[in-house]
Symmetry: C2
């Protein structure tokens, strides 16, 4: 039996979430039903309001309601450190560890030959290089994920920054190889940040 169309439709949308299969989506839809109209309205409103109120920071690419974002405009952050991540989620995980006090730059992508992304887009590189003109940056921490795509992105960044005279480092392979920064625990992230290694060219 197919369920009534309105719930099947919601299930089909929930199934598109990463890591959510048919049965989980079904449970979630039933949960919404069982909570009654109040929860459903709050959920719908939260989705719409998030999409309308949030944007990405023009400087670093972080999620924000303000321009620039609270990290970029925080006078207490160390402006001589720049951490480059592939995604906003990676930024959030590093920020969440509480161990980093510099600024960020979110690429918003990673190289992936399988998906025909073999080089960093010009506009991303342009925005990144502009960061070095604003403040005297002392070190760039390239925090790409310990996977093929992350490694390729790392080397592309290294090449792009070849003529920029700053120290370049990458997160140590304390990260489990094949894993992702987003799901690393605090201790692993700590090890990876502490033992980050300078890249010698």
């Amino acid at each position: 039996m197919a369920l009534p169309e309105p719930i099947e439709h919601l299930i089909s949308l929930l199934k598109r979430f990463p890591g959510v299969g048919e049965k989980s989506a079904r449970r979630m839809a039933f949960y919404v039903l069982q909570q009654g109209a109040g929860y459903g309205e709050e959920l719908a409103q939260a989705v719409l309001s998030m999409n309308s109120r949030l944007t990405t920071c023009e400087k670093c690419g972080n999620l924000t309601e303000l321009q620039p974002c609270p990290i970029c405009s925080d006078p207490l952050r160390d402006r001589s450190l720049l951490c480059v991540t592939e995604t906003i989620e990676d930024l959030v995980s590093i920020e969440h560890s509480g161990l980093y006090n510099g600024l960020y730059f979110v690429l918003g992508m990673s190289l992936s030959p399988l998906e025909d992304r073999e080089s960093l887009p010009e506009n991303v590189l342009h925005r990144l290089l502009r960061r070095f003109e604003e403040y005297p940056i002392r070190e760039v921490i390239i925090a790409t994920n310990p996977k093929i795509e992350g490694d390729m992105t790392f080397y592309a960044l290294l090449e792009a920054l070849r003529d920029v005279p700053v120290k370049k480092s990458r997160l140590a392979y304390g990260l489990p190889v094949g894993g992702s920064i987003e799901f690393a625990d605090r201790v692993t992230l700590h090890a990876a940040l502490e033992s980050r290694q300078e890249v010698r060219e």
Copy 2:
């Protein structure tokens, strides 16, 4: 770092889904953001529309847009068989197996002494007993879950139906003990339906 309020709010709502923790909720919220406004609007609309369009069938308690539900009004179903379930999800799983062609009655609850539900509510019993006046029912299949709550519900139903002269059966313990009907696979459900056992009083 806390994320911006609009996304934290959505995460807090998503975290309330069964089986969804902080990290999954975060991934889901980011997924919504990354899909752009179209997906978010469709999702919000699907939640609202499901809540406004769906109700429970007055006869059996199934989810439906119509009264009575498509199962209750289907002339090809065997009206001499009545399957009693604790929840709509259980009804859906049994229906999904494709092995049952009778009608249903959803209790919408189960007994649970820990949560102070020690007997079946009068109105539920009243609605259930009325079903036996409508059609000549030949057999009641009590499809409660193989757990303490399900067992207690089973015996309460048996007691409530003591004076009703129909065959009573329950799903066989082909179901994994401690599990739930909702997550049983098709083969297990098949075994449980096929080897359902008549209850002798």
